[in-house]
């Protein structure tokens, strides 16, 4: 009888821990989809950005081609790939850095509008990133600490990766014009 009660309590604890881990993992996924929305919005601006900068700069043909290719790959991939997104984002930042070197381009209405959209999405993306990383940290801590690590190990809960996308800052990007 007592053994039965003890086993029952243990099963309940296991269920409860399992459910908590599932809820936390779902929250991570939900936060990830939030990032995906803003990443897509940001990358949707790439064609406009390339078009806009192309007219002023003839030297960065390679970057333009590379970014268009990366965007197509990213868009064709149904599942969010944060590493791919980071790569694409870094290249996008390079183009913005190129644009920063052309005062006429910077003053154009088309670019100003683009920049307005970019800073809006960038701010939203950073907010989504903070929410996501918060959830990931809580989830990773949970699956690494006793006793939830046992349940996590048995049911195959894996650590989630933090998202470290770079915000556009001119000083972070090196561009050699005319190479």
């Amino acid at each position: 009888m007592i053994i039965g009660i003890v086993i029952g309590i243990i099963i309940l604890i296991v269920f409860s821990m399992y459910n908590t881990l599932v809820k936390m993992r779902n929250k991570v996924k939900q936060a990830e989809s939030g990032i995906d929305v803003y990443l897509n919005q940001r990358f949707d601006l790439i064609p406009n950005l390339v078009e806009c900068v192309k007219g002023y700069s003839k030297h960065e043909k390679d970057i333009f081609e590379k970014i268009v290719k990366l965007r197509t790959e990213y868009m064709n991939n149904k599942k969010t790939n944060l590493q791919q997104a980071e790569k694409l984002n870094n290249n996008m930042n390079k183009i913005i850095a190129v644009a920063e070197n052309y005062p006429e381009l910077k003053a154009s209405e088309q670019y100003l509008n683009l920049q307005k959209n970019l800073s809006k999405i960038e701010s939203q993306l950073q907010a989504a990133r903070r929410i996501y990383n918060n959830e990931v940290t809580r989830y990773n801590t949970k699956i690494a600490t006793v006793p939830s690590n046992i349940i996590a190990g048995v049911f195959g809960f894996k650590e989630a990766n933090l998202f470290t996308i770079e915000e556009y800052k001119k000083e972070n990007i090196e561009i050699n014009l005319g190479e």
């Binding site: 800073s119 809006k120 939203q124 950073q126 907010a127 990383n133 940290t137």
Partner: protein
């Protein structure tokens, strides 16, 4: 914008304020000279009369002590009617300190000592509190950066409950729900959502709860947001530091609600802009520093939020 020390020296050297303070102090000393012997004589008479009639025992002393305290309280209350200069000093102090301090941060300052901020404005942020008695005065209207309206006042809300016991006697209890400064700032852009930042907020298990990525911030505040992305956009590292810094500097409890294009701030400061102890000079420096931090914080926060909303097109 002047720094605290400059502003303090300026106010502390104000001739009108110093004259009012000197007169109030002289009056206080005169009142003390008269009331102190009265306090002593009445206390002694009461003590002697009661000991003679009841005798000297511990239980018998209790009503004597209560009577002495009561008698002294009456003398103190009566003496309040003769503190005319102290009331004048209080008015001069309020006028000077409010105008000088608030003019340092805001433009077009107008101060109405007897006007209240309407309770319907106080109710706009829908604070999680029930009150049935509302009092407000020291209403101030001004502009931030010559553009955004700010209105603030001292507010006190209380819950008054009257209960009848078995014997038919009524008992009234009054619980203060909030006492301090309430401010409303109207900005030009709406965040189209609501963000609440409270100390010991009651939304720990709420779905709107927003967990922040700063353990230091989480230690002091609870955040609830109807739109979590906008909440995070507004609570940047810089703004979180500003909020923590104010708690560390003043130890004052406060809360912030941003609802569409309105920012509401509540400082649980108790009575504000009152003269300190007359012994501490014309201006109590510590108290003035608290007022300065509060106004500086309100200005900085509003300024940063307005800039952030404009820059990030929230």
């Amino acid at each position: 914008m002047k720094q605290f020390e400059d502003l303090y020296n300026e106010i502390n050297n104000n001739e009108e304020l110093n004259n009012a303070w000197k007169q109030a102090r002289e009056e206080e000393q005169k009142i003390k000279k008269v009331t102190l012997p009265i306090h002593i004589v009445i206390s002694l008479i009461l003590l002697v009369v009661m000991i003679k009639s009841i005798g000297f025992n511990f239980m018998g002393m209790l009503p004597i002590i209560i009577m002495i305290i009561f008698a002294n309280l009456i003398i103190f209350v009566v003496s309040m009617f003769f503190r005319k200069k102290q009331r004048e000093y209080g008015n001069v102090f309020k006028n000077i300190i409010i105008k000088e301090l608030i003019n340092n941060f805001y433009n077009n300052v107008e101060y109405f000592p007897n006007k209240q901020i309407p309770s319907r404005i106080y109710d706009e942020p829908k604070y999680n509190e029930y009150y049935n008695r509302y009092h407000s005065d020291d209403y101030i209207e001004a502009k931030i950066n010559n553009k955004y309206d700010i209105s603030m006042a001292e507010v006190k809300t209380e819950k008054v409950e009257t209960k009848r016991d078995k014997d038919g006697n009524t008992h009234t209890t009054t619980t203060t729900k909030f006492h301090g400064i309430f401010a409303k700032i109207v900005i030009d852009k709406s965040i189209k959502s609501e963000l609440k930042i409270e100390q010991n907020g009651k939304f720990v298990f709420s779905k709107k709860r927003l967990e922040m990525d700063s353990s230091e911030f989480e230690k002091y505040f609870d955040v609830s947001a109807t739109n979590k992305i906008i909440g995070m956009q507004l609570l940047t590292v810089d703004i979180m530091e500003e909020l923590i810094d104010f708690v560390n500097k003043t130890n004052m409890k406060y809360d912030i609600v941003i609802n569409n294009n309105n920012i509401y701030l509540r400082f649980h400061s108790g009575t504000m802009f009152e003269t300190g102890s007359l012994k501490k000079g014309a201006v109590d420096k510590d108290m003035m520093q608290k007022y300065f931090y509060m106004l500086n914080f309100t200005y900085n926060l509003a300024d940063k939020i307005i800039k952030l909303i404009n820059e990030t097109e929230i």
